[in-house]
């Protein structure tokens, strides 16, 4: 069977927890221009730590002495499975703890939103010196527990069920690559524990209309044999919502926007062929109604090959140029 260049036994294509903001507006998401080979499962634990001291109240950047540093820790199990070389299924199950270093507010802990993605590569072709591949992804997410959404910035998430549709293009020339993706996130309305709330007007209901969101991601770097090293820039824009008013608390339907800069390394251990290390770091460089967070994530993944007559995992699918 002809192995695609982008179908790779070496690298797990993974969901990254992108807790970028005052809450976890960025759910688990897949933005890699690589695929798991057929009947290969990549699975493992991932840990993430994210914190911020400054946040944007609307467009005004401030700190809050009564919160100090707000931090969240994520423990999750993530995985990707190659249904075929061109169709992958990805999942993530995160457990989150939040905490404020100052003030009296109680931290939260519990299972956050599970996500499930299908990734399809309909096109792979040679253009110039490199390979161009096109991907379509669809993902859903939903809360795994009855956690509290209306307790920002310490709530575990926003509780909104989401459907995401993503288009992605990846180009690799030699050892260098670039990936560009755009995602539209449909967000379902949520229920909160209050029976009335004020946004820019009074609402006599416990249901909150959640605006949809749009995100873009650009990543580029080095991808060869045992290592992927990349930098990325991404943006999340909420299509609607309102600003936090002066000295008010945040609310789930705020207009939360963030632009982040980050780096990501995946390393395939030489001696333990079925293990892969992933380390990721990022920082919010601009935002609105979100925390200016700095995040690090690290994971260790195991690759299990369910194919009977598959080549050994260590074999490079196709000689890299």
């Amino acid at each position: 069977m002809k192995q695609s260049r982008k179908t790779c036994l070496r690298y797990c294509c993974l969901l990254f927890w992108l807790a970028a903001s005052i809450h976890s507006a960025f759910a688990q998401t897949d933005i890699d221009g690589i695929m798991m080979a057929k009947k290969n499962l990549c699975v493992g634990p991932m840990y993430g730590y994210s914190s911020w001291k400054h946040y944007w109240e609307g467009t005004l950047k401030r700190e809050n002495l009564n919160l100090g540093t707000v931090s969240s820790q994520m423990y999750s199990v993530m995985g990707a499975y190659g249904v075929t070389d061109k169709v992958n299924v990805l999942f993530s199950v995160p457990y989150v703890r939040t905490k404020a270093s100052a003030g009296t507010l109680h931290g939260m802990k519990g299972f956050q939103d599970a996500s499930l993605w299908v990734k399809y590569m309909p096109l792979e072709t040679k253009i110039g010196n490199g390979d161009l591949s096109v991907y379509g992804l669809a993902g859903v997410s939903a809360p795994l527990s009855n956690y509290v959404a209306d307790y920002l910035p310490l709530s575990l998430g926003l509780r909104s069920k989401t459907l995401s549709l993503r288009g992605m293009v990846d180009y690799q020339a030699g050892k260098l690559f670039a990936t560009l993706s755009g995602t539209y996130v449909f967000r379902d309305n949520i229920k909160i524990d209050r029976d009335a709330y004020y946004t820019t007007e009074m609402h006599y209901t416990n249901k909150v209309a959640m605006p949809d969101a749009l995100s873009f991601n650009f990543r580029a770097g080095y991808r060869h044999n045992d290592i992927i090293a990349e930098a990325f820039l991404d943006n999340w824009t909420t299509l609607g919502g309102f600003d936090i008013t002066r000295n008010n608390m945040p609310f789930p339907s705020n207009k939360m926007n963030a632009t982040r800069l980050g780096a990501n390394v995946k390393y395939h251990l030489k001696n333990l062929k079925r293990l892969q290390l992933v380390v990721n770091g990022n920082h919010v460089i601009a935002g609105r109604n979100v925390g200016q967070s700095t995040s690090i994530n690290a994971g260790l993944f195991f690759i299990i090959n369910f194919a009977k007559k598959q080549a050994p995992v260590s074999t490079t699918p196709k000689a890299q140029p």
Binding site: G103, V118, Y120, Y147, D188, D193, E201, M202, T245, N247
Partner: protein
Amino acid sequence: MKKLLSCILPLLIIAAVTVPLACSKTEKGRTDDLPALQPDKTDIDAGSWKPILLASANEFSISAPIATNTPEYTAQLSEIKSWQASLTDGEKDLVKYWSAGAVLRWNEILRGLVAKHNLPPYQNDDGIYPAPNANNPLAYPQFPFANPPYAARAYAYVSAAQYDALVAAYYYKKLYNRPAPYKVDAGIKVLVPQSDLPSYPSEDAVVAGAAVEMMKLLFPGDQEYIQQKAEEHKRARIISGANVRSDMEAGEALGKAVAQKFVTRARGDRAGAAIGTPTDWAKLETDCIARGETPWYSLELPKRPPMLPLFGKVKAFLFDSLTAISLRPGPPPLTASKKMQDETDEILSLTKNDTRDHYRIVHFWADGAGTSTPSGHWDAIAAEDFIKKNYSEVRWARNMALLNMSLMDAAIVCWDTKYFYFNPRPCQMNPKIKTLTGVPNFPAYVSGHSTFSGAAATILSYIIPDRATAYDDMAREASLSRMLAGIHFRADCEVGLETGKKVGNYAVDRGKADGAGN
């Protein structure tokens, strides 16, 4: 592989198309689509009910209306007809919105303004908190900071002014007995339920006039919004064929005149000085230390002056100042006592066991910053029950006034108690206590939520006896929520509930004697 694709892809496409279409974004409020108010009885004799501030129902006179056979009246009928000849959807929406009830809608508008303004000011660079200035309401921090005592007082004044204005209006309705325009001219379409109540002066205009005049004082920075609502309200009544212009003008003038009497009272009720001075704040602390007790201190950074420490001296509606002091409960457990230690331990243990149901209860009742406060929450509870009762406007106003006077007077007795004892919060006694909602910036004993809720449940149980058990359960849950949240001791909540009930009973006594019956 192809099989699988042919399964997954269509599914994804279907999901992509249907899910976004299936979830409609806007969420309707519970009172958005109410039917028009159709009172079970007109309460035509409400002009004889006992007013709150007015010496008598006819203290402010209004002139006799023009007769329905005059050319001027005919011209006013024509005005209705010309509106009705070409109604826009927006105008139909206005009629629908306002026909649910004038007192109800103005109460909702007021709750919205309270929520908008219920935000503690941010500190200056030097760490000093600026105070809102009523004479410059739009400068930061905007006036008012509609915190719980301020809000309770606002609801009380607006409700009480509307009630007195309606008592006067009903007096003149009966006296002048001018029929509604649709009874005079069959050519008038009527877009609201018909009524035998005389239409001069308009009860809707009276309610709007009193609200506008009162809210000008309470929310001076929002006059344009308030005025716009009043214009829409008046237009809705004329469009609907319920009132002619002269009904509206007489009603508005009467509502404003009556409200002026409440404005004068409000200017002299000592609420303006309730914020106190740095000398007052320091004295509260030194007096408490002199008694050998641990004083309350602000848990905010930087330390914020206590919220309205002199609000306990505000002039109550239901009793005089000596009675207010007599309602002050006995002291909380001494801060150094074993009892206080036990109560602190109880709160620590509750907050460590922070179940999901605790959060539900705490957040449902939190009514903190950016909300309509506990008084507004009780107004919402009451309003949604009153809607089912089909009260006349004057009975709506009377019941809202009884409720809101209880809530304001509960705030007065509660705030007097809080600053008399100046007792710390649980997380001051033990910093290990983490709270499930924000810690209010004033002393603990007695719990405001408990006092408000005890008072509200008591008067509402008198007004709607078949809901008494439900109100009592709600009051207990609201009270308990403050312990579960880690911001109050058991004594604060239990004594607060009892104190609130005592305040509520004054409103019950008033209700029994005001001639309205139930």
